[in-house]
């Protein structure tokens, strides 16, 4: 299954808004900040943008989707950015990588030339992310019991509902099945915190984390501890997809899209761990069949990490090791920036940079491919040496896309 659009599209401009916990600036304004910065980074103006894509139209569960204030949907953003005319727009399904995939197809098939993609994340002003405001016993006591309808009638009465309760059982099964222990995961979380400490955008930039800090961390949903969960933030990031010949004329080195694969669904993939392989395994299957390149040709990987165990499903599903061996693969410095065979999530991932729901991985993948991952020249050491190809895969639970970003057409 060759990827006929290989080398026709490149990512050039990338940018973040300010990231932080419960920022004062409305999310729409942060999203515009990120978009304008990405457009300028690509050497373009708003008038050059003839396609846009995002996902979703709201920013998250339990969040009132007031456009511009708590969400940055497409119609509001055309106003916020002052866009006058578009040739194409797309709304991705499941993850920002799906919107990016649609954008790649749109450019490769000639429907537009310069696509702006953004993802904005907003936290409610009080309470836990995803919970509305019901997060303390006192708070809950003041309210009547909620009524659970549709699919929730089979989960909410049992105290399922927030994201950790969806991911922890899958991780528990993995650990029991293959013999993975918590200390194996420290190889990921501690390494990623080191990366975040080299990334001024990261919410944990100034906060180191030791092996002991991780091992002594309190449980949220055993086996997931607090440091296994990504860190909710307010903020946005944006990237610019361009027709390759236009990208070559701009100020940034093009990060060429040289392979593409997609997640998939399967009616039998109901067991929780199988949902994860439905993304990683199918992206792996379709991506590697779209190219002559091999896993050993990758110089680094950005893998979606809403929860730290996602890394096991990725390295296995993407064929860097056998199924059930991911927890061993990440040991012994193999994922470290310095000297690692496959540096992973060099920006700190969502567990340490902040939860941008995938687009942070794309920004970092592009920067690594372009050789400008050191935001502060001099303090650096985040840039992987001699990069030719970077793998970026985001999405979980069946959806999502992965690509290879390359320094040259392949």
């Amino acid at each position: 299954m060759p990827f006929n659009s290989a080398n026709k599209v490149a990512i050039t401009g990338v940018a973040h808004s300010k990231l932080g916990r419960r920022q004062e600036r409305p999310i729409g304004a942060l999203a515009v900040d990120a978009c304008l910065a990405a457009i300028a980074d690509a050497g373009l103006t708003v008038k050059d943008i003839d396609g846009v894509a995002t996902f979703p139209q709201t920013t998250g569960p339990g969040v009132g989707p007031e456009p511009g204030v708590s969400s940055a949907p497409f119609p509001w953003m055309t106003e916020g950015l002052g866009i006058e005319e578009l040739n194409w727009w797309g709304n991705g399904g499941g993850n920002i990588s799906t919107a990016i995939g649609y954008g790649i197809d749109a450019i490769a098939t000639g429907r537009c030339n310069n696509v702006l993609v953004w993802r904005a994340m907003y936290q409610p002003r009080s309470g836990a992310f995803g919970s509305g405001t019901r997060n303390t016993a006192a708070d809950a006591a003041a309210r009547p019991a909620p009524r659970a309808s549709m699919g929730q009638q089979f989960t909410a009465p049992y105290g399922f509902g927030d994201a950790p309760s969806g991911f922890a059982p899958a991780y528990m099964r993995y650990m029991k099945q293959y013999g993975a222990k918590r200390h194996h995961m420290a190889a990921y979380t501690v390494e990623l915190r080191k990366n975040a400490n080299k990334n001024p955008n990261s919410v944990f930039y100034d906060q180191p984390m030791s092996y002991e800090d991780y091992m002594n961390c309190r449980m949220i949903c055993d086996p997931l501890c607090l440091f296994d969960c990504d860190m909710p933030v307010d903020g946005a990031a944006a990237i610019i997809l361009q027709r390759a010949d236009l990208a070559e004329a701009g100020p940034q080195k093009p990060a060429y899209i040289t392979a593409l694969g997609s997640g998939s669904y399967d009616w039998r993939t109901i067991p929780p761990e199988q949902w994860r392989y439905a993304s990683s395994g199918n992206i792996g299957r379709t991506l590697w069949s779209s190219t002559y390149m091999k896993p050993t040709d990758m110089d680094g990987a950005m893998f979606y990490d809403g929860f730290s165990p996602d890394v096991y499903w990725w390295v296995e599903g993407m064929r860097f090791c056998k199924f059930g061996e991911g927890f061993e693969f990440i040991q012994d410095g193999r994922i470290a920036i310095e000297g690692g065979e496959l540096p992973i999530n060099t920006f700190g991932g969502q567990v340490s940079e902040g939860r941008l729901h995938g687009i942070g991985h794309w920004v970092e993948g592009v920067k690594q491919t372009q050789g400008r991952a050191d935001d502060k020249p001099g303090d650096g050491a985040r840039q992987i040496k001699n990069v030719n190809n970077i793998l970026v895969c985001t999405g979980m639970l069946g959806h999502g896309n992965g690509v290879i970003l390359s320094t040259e057409p392949r």
Partner: protein, 138 residues
């Protein structure tokens, strides 16, 4: 206090038989009349044979724990005072493609008995106006 805060299932046309049976301490699942596939939650079409006629039938109530986790902090209504508690995905022995969400009712001192792929059986927890199927180690 907490139990009264827990989410109350709101049956609809398709799910009413499930909750009505639970009220009588019977565990039922929807089943395809053509090929016999058991559904963990009601479907409108059978993914295996594409028939759309179903009946409600009573499986043995025995299952295995496919996976589980121990909740220590939650945003789920009514459960804040009950941590740590156990959530689990149960496979009924009749149907390997069905995954049923529930709690394992077990004392904290016995948590080390929990494991994947071990047998459980259905029990019923009365919560005032509703009764919910639950699971205990067999």
């Amino acid at each position: 206090m907490a139990a009264e805060q827990k989410a109350i299932p709101v049956p609809d046309e398709r799910t009413k038989p499930y909750w009505d049976a639970a009220k009588e301490h019977k565990f039922v699942l929807q089943r395809c009349t053509a090929c016999g596939l058991w559904n963990a939650t009601p479907r409108v079409i059978c993914p295996r044979c594409h028939a759309s006629d179903f009946e409600w039938a009573q499986p043995s109530g025995k299952g295995i724990i496919h996976s589980y986790a121990i909740v220590h902090q939650t945003t789920a209504a009514g459960f804040q005072d009950e941590v740590p508690y156990v959530i689990a995905h149960i496979i009924p022995i009749e149907e390997p493609t069905a995954f049923i969400d529930g709690n394992i009712l077990i004392d904290e001192k016995d948590f080390d008995k929990l494991n994947i792929d071990i047998p459980v059986e259905v029990v019923f927890e009365d919560r005032g106006e509703v009764t919910v199927p639950q699971w205990k180690l067999a």
